[in-house]
């Protein structure tokens, strides 16, 4: 079952990429999807499919909008720091804690942290994420967690947990 869902997903992406229903294209797509499925089917997270319920999907859309808002903000932040003649940075690696448990949610959280203003996730050990922060504004781990993690954690909890 799990492998079949994975296979259909891969085949769908292939058909979108080629955008034709000629039998040769479909045949090659089936073969490629089968090979990829056999090689990588084990690491496909099946619980990601549960995002298809309407409530979760709604929160996923909310998450997407928030995410793009922060991505654009992050770009202006970088532009400000890079183009400023004094180079206003104060970098370091801090340690924050996450409440998320599923791998999918953590992946999204780490990716979101990387693309939001001034932060870059470096490693996950247990419940802690090590984050490189370009402009450290506080020494207190609790406040760090609040600033870096919480803006996404609540949304991702509703989407994936």
């Amino acid at each position: 079952m799990k492998r079949f869902v994975h296979f259909l997903l891969l085949l769908g992406i292939w058909l979108l990429l080629t955008w034709s229903l000629h039998w040769q294209e479909v045949l090659v797509g089936v073969v490629v999807a089968l090979i990829a499925d056999l090689l990588l089917g084990d690491i496909f997270p099946l619980n990601a499919v549960k995002i298809l319920s309407p409530v979760r999907f709604f929160w996923f859309l909310v998450y997407t909008v928030t995410f793009f808002f922060y991505v654009i903000k992050a770009n202006f932040d970088v532009a400000y720091r890079v183009l400023n003649i004094n180079l206003p940075i104060k970098p370091g690696i801090v340690k924050v804690r996450t409440k998320l448990n599923t791998e999918m949610a953590r992946t999204f959280l780490a990716n979101s942290i990387t693309l939001t203003p001034g932060t870059l996730s470096v490693d996950i050990v247990g419940d802690h994420i090590y984050v490189h922060w370009i402009n450290i504004s506080t020494d207190d781990p609790k406040q760090e967690t609040e600033i870096i993690v919480e803006r996404f954690e609540k949304l991702l909890e509703r989407v994936f947990e």
Partner: protein, 114 residues
């Protein structure tokens, strides 16, 4: 009209890419450089791909561009994450004016125990 939107997106996207490249040159160490590179180049490239959608209209090329946006968004932070982790593990120090490095502190602690 759509062409105009496409061109504007293209110009903004390329400007963000340029800012990312300036960041690569100006910032001091690999971690700061990765920050500039990932953020700016991801959004810049996504905007360029989106401009393809507006410029050519909704056709197979635009669908490929949309799929590429998804791939870039998923893979570029993961790549940055892998590079940063590998750099830290192979002993590349942070910039000397960095404020703190909890990762190095914790790893030294665990090595002492082991």
């Amino acid at each position: 009209m759509n062409e105009t939107i496409g061109l504007i997106l293209l110009i903004v996207g390329v400007s963000f890419d340029v800012i990312g490249c300036i960041g690569l040159v100006r910032l001091p160490d690999i971690y700061n450089r990765l920050q500039a590179a990932t953020k700016c180049v991801t959004l810049g490239t996504c905007m360029i791909l989106l401009s393809v959608l507006f410029y050519t209209g909704f056709n197979p090329i635009a669908i490929k561009a949309l799929l590429c946006i998804w791939f870039v968004l998923m893979t570029s932070p993961t790549g940055a994450h892998a590079i940063a982790r590998a750099a830290h593990r192979s002993g590349i120090r942070l910039w000397e004016k960095s404020v703190m490095d909890k990762y190095a502190d914790d790893r030294e602690g665990s090595e002492d125990k082991a």
